[in-house]
Amino acid sequence: MGTIFFLILFPLAVAIALLILKTDGPRDIIVKAASIIIAVASIVLVAQNFGSGGRYFDVDGEVIGYLMMAIEIALAVFIIYLGFRYRQPLVVILVLVQTPVMIWFETSIGHNITVVNNLYIDRLSMIMVLIIGIIGTLICVYAIGYMKDFQKHHSEDKDRRPWFFFLMFIFLSAMFGIVVSNNLVWLYFFWEITTLCSFLLIGYNGLFHKKNEDKIATRNAFRALIMNLVGGLGFVAAIVILGAYYGTLELSTMLTIGAMGYSVVAPAIFLVFAGITKAAQMPFNSWLLGAMVAPTPTSALLHSSTMVKAGVFLILKLAPVLGWNLAGVLAMFVGGITFLMASFNAISQSNAKKVLAYSTIANLGLIVACAGVGTPGAVWAGIMLVIFHAVTKSLLFLCVGTAEHNIGSRNIEDMDGLFEKMPRLASFMMIGIAGMFLAPFGMLISKWAAMTAFVDSSNIALILIICFGSAATAFYWTKWLGKMSAIVAGKENIQGKVHPEEWISQGTHVALVLIICLTFPLISKGMVVPYLEDSFGSVSGLGLTSNDMLTMCIIVAVIILLFVFFFGKTDKKIVPIYMAGVSEGDNINFIGAMDRDTPVSLRNWYMEGYFGEFKMNVIGVVTTSVIIVATLGMVIGTIVGGM
């Protein structure tokens, strides 16, 4: 238990230290040292509990509870102040509803409920701890190098990097808190802290700026805040219902009640709703798109590998009580529709971060749908998706960030010749992209398992959705992969300007991607299957046999070996490409009209007519809104009717 407190409190201390330090040297050292310590502590925590599979901790929560309440009130005041200052009435209203209700509950009904186990750790939490501790800290290391360039590009602004790193480490602390809290009030507290961190980080270039305020950043920050506060409202509703009608505040108790056959749909559906807003599912997806204005480490940490994972983590934990009830239907259909429409959207985007954002939203949708199906096979798929997506997407964001700083653009069409300009970066990106959708890498394995789970659940809509969505996914990733692989003549290598921290972080990510692709059968056997046995009582209907998994790993090994030994080796004569006989010979220019030297420029397909952002979003937002209103409405109706 000491390790758990360490993991929550140590980043907090580091954050405060980083807020005070103003110089690069000490900051670099502290971030790197802290990252190593946190990563090691995460591994230690997992090692301590691996054998037992996890346990509960009956920590005395009274003092901590009052502390949390005090901090909540202080933060509420802070947000209301910001709501007034930036003229955002919706923010003020949401906080004025949410916080008083929560305080009222905690002091009245909540006060009378005894909580036995405030904290816990189980195998799913262990997986999340590893992701937060290793991937999260790797991103912070990357941020050291990245933010130096960022400051150079924004040299006329005040150096607010202390504030940046402070928020990053506070966020890590809060994330650890989310995955080990069994007391839903505590979970809610950490949840709202992450909302606040996300808000402040998205608004990094806009909030508190006296001059050069990036108004788009401010606006997008408030959009994220509002949508996540709406989710928070759902969270509060769930806590109130759970406390008032079921007499407990503990997640484990709620799941046990559900396992005994009683309906826990009412609190579950509001928790699913909260998870949906945090995971930027439709109709709440626009906040994640808008969040891409934040510095890239933020996008990597919060908006792809960790914070949004908190949303799906919660829904995955609820999976045993989902299925074909209102809460499960909400998850299945909102998740499924989001997966389909976001995948379509990604086809028509050329802004690299937007493609990554839509891909994130789509994959989160798939995880939510898997959790909604609620069978062991589906949850297996969901957990594997979480693991593989966290590592691979983080790698891609870091690479895009580095590319942006060195070529001056985050548009995929400007990444022409990246393989010549920055070969190592392009190779890393190719590994990341292949890892996101291609057999035999992990994301594909997970999608395969999800497909089997959907078929077994007989949900026709989900089956059709995953078939069409997978086709769309392969399209947008392969065209980016192709762009990365293009050998364009006449580009000079500009790799030398990349900071070593960026290479270390990205290199470690690549190694991790390959390692987990090669060892995932062990991860499945050692962590995921035991977790499923504990949660569901039995494990049947897993999509992949161990034979299948072994075959995939062998193919991964074969691919790696092929690349290592044969890539780039040829003794054939190199000749120019074909340009209808009028090539200048340099593979770039040809003799065009009026005998002018005309360069060839190649662009990918975007098919706006089919997959245009506006059309896809309208369809997605409308259908998911209808489902949310219908399912929540029915539950609210039942509650009101029963009162």
């Binding site: 010749g417 291609l438 057999a439 035999p440 594909l444 395969w448 497909m451 089997t452 078929v455 007989s458 026709i460 089956i463 059709l464 995953i466 078939c467 069409f468 997978s470 086709a471 769309a472 392969a474 399209f475 392969t478 065209k479 992969l481 192709g482 762009k483 692989s485 293009a486 050998i487 364009v488 003549a489 299948d548 075959t551 995939m552 193919i555 691919i559 092929l562 044969f566 890539f567 780039g568 080796k569 040829t570 054939k572 004569k573 190199i574 000749v575 120019p576 490409i577 074909y578 340009m579 209808a580 593979n587 060839v600 190649l602 990918n604 397909w605 089919y610």
Partner: protein, 287 residues
């Protein structure tokens, strides 16, 4: 176990011969339909051998690697199928192979290759839903994705899976690269996109692609065969006849239609997948 090893070896050894022979028959039938005599039936083999005798040239240091990857994984895919593995594994490995080929074309940064590669990618997106739904159809009927378990099923699955069968034969036009959907690398389209995807490949590399297509065609026909197998010799013979009939049908369609735009390929394939696949799926699940 022994049966699967023998099947895989038979596939690896015989598929290029049968595939090449079928390609030759294809050209002769096409010629006769056009009122011509046509080449000798072994012509595709002469083509491949000739390509191996040409000078070794390439446009960059990586494209031959990618093409070799394509060839290797097409064979792996076929091998997995004939070893009785899961249909989903087979489909995903085939996607891997196709991506290798597409990336090979992209890597050359040549305008004609690029057009071919984008269209090939679009073709992949067009047929993938139907192919996945076909595998799911087999699963719903036989309870397993595995080819060996499907082969052991003792009922002919054509009628319960008729929608999937029709849809699969529809997208075979795209997979066999026949008009109206031969938009990415048809040599008939050389006025439009030179050789499309294949523009920058020559010599042994091009020979590898041809051979890989033979392996792939046999694999696709084997999937058609799966709809008819029920363990008896009679149905096996009927299955082979239907496969040949499907192949002939594709040649017939090829000669009856002009090449269409990519929108036609995407629209028709997706509508077919949704309609035929969706309705058949509904009947299997609800019925």
């Amino acid at each position: 176990m022994l049966v699967s090893i023998l099947s895989v070896i038979a596939y690896l050894v015989l598929a290029p011969f049968i595939g090449g022979f079928l390609a030759g028959v294809d050209r002769i039938i096409t010629a006769r339909m056009q009122g011509r005599v046509g080449p000798p039936v072994l012509q595709p083999f002469y083509d491949v051998f000739k390509l191996c005798e040409k000078e070794n040239i390439t446009v960059n240091r990586v494209q031959d690697f990618y093409v070799a990857g394509f060839f290797i994984f097409v064979i792996v895919t076929g091998g997995l199928f004939f070893a009785g593995e899961s249909l989903l594994m087979v489909i995903f490995t085939l996607t891997l192979a196709s991506v290798f080929l597409i990336v090979a074309a992209f890597s050359s940064n040549s305008p004609y290759s690029q057009i071919g590669a984008e269209r090939e990618l679009l073709q992949m997106m067009a047929y993938e839903p139907m192919v996945l739904l076909t595998a799911i159809g087999f699963y719903e009927h036989f309870g397993s994705f595995r080819v060996d378990e499907i082969m052991q099923g003792h009922s002919v699955s054509l009628l319960p899976l008729i929608g999937f069968f029709a849809g699969f034969v529809f997208i075979l036009t795209i997979k066999f690269r026949k008009s109206p959907f031969d938009i990415s690398m048809s040599h008939h389209a050389h006025q439009e996109l030179v050789a499309g995807l294949k523009t920058e490949f020559s010599g042994k590399t091009l020979a590898l692609i041809e051979a890989a297509h033979w392996y792939e065609n046999i694999l696709l026909l084997a999937v058609v065969f799966l709809f008819f197998t029920n363990g008896t010799a009679l149905m096996a013979v009927i299955g082979v006849i239907v496969c040949l009939a499907a192949y002939f049908l594709e040649i017939f369609i090829d000669n009856s239609f002009a090449r269409m735009k990519w929108q036609a390929a995407l629209n028709s394939a997706w509508i077919v997948a949704l309609a035929l696949g969706g309705i058949n799926l509904f009947i299997l699940i609800v019925g």
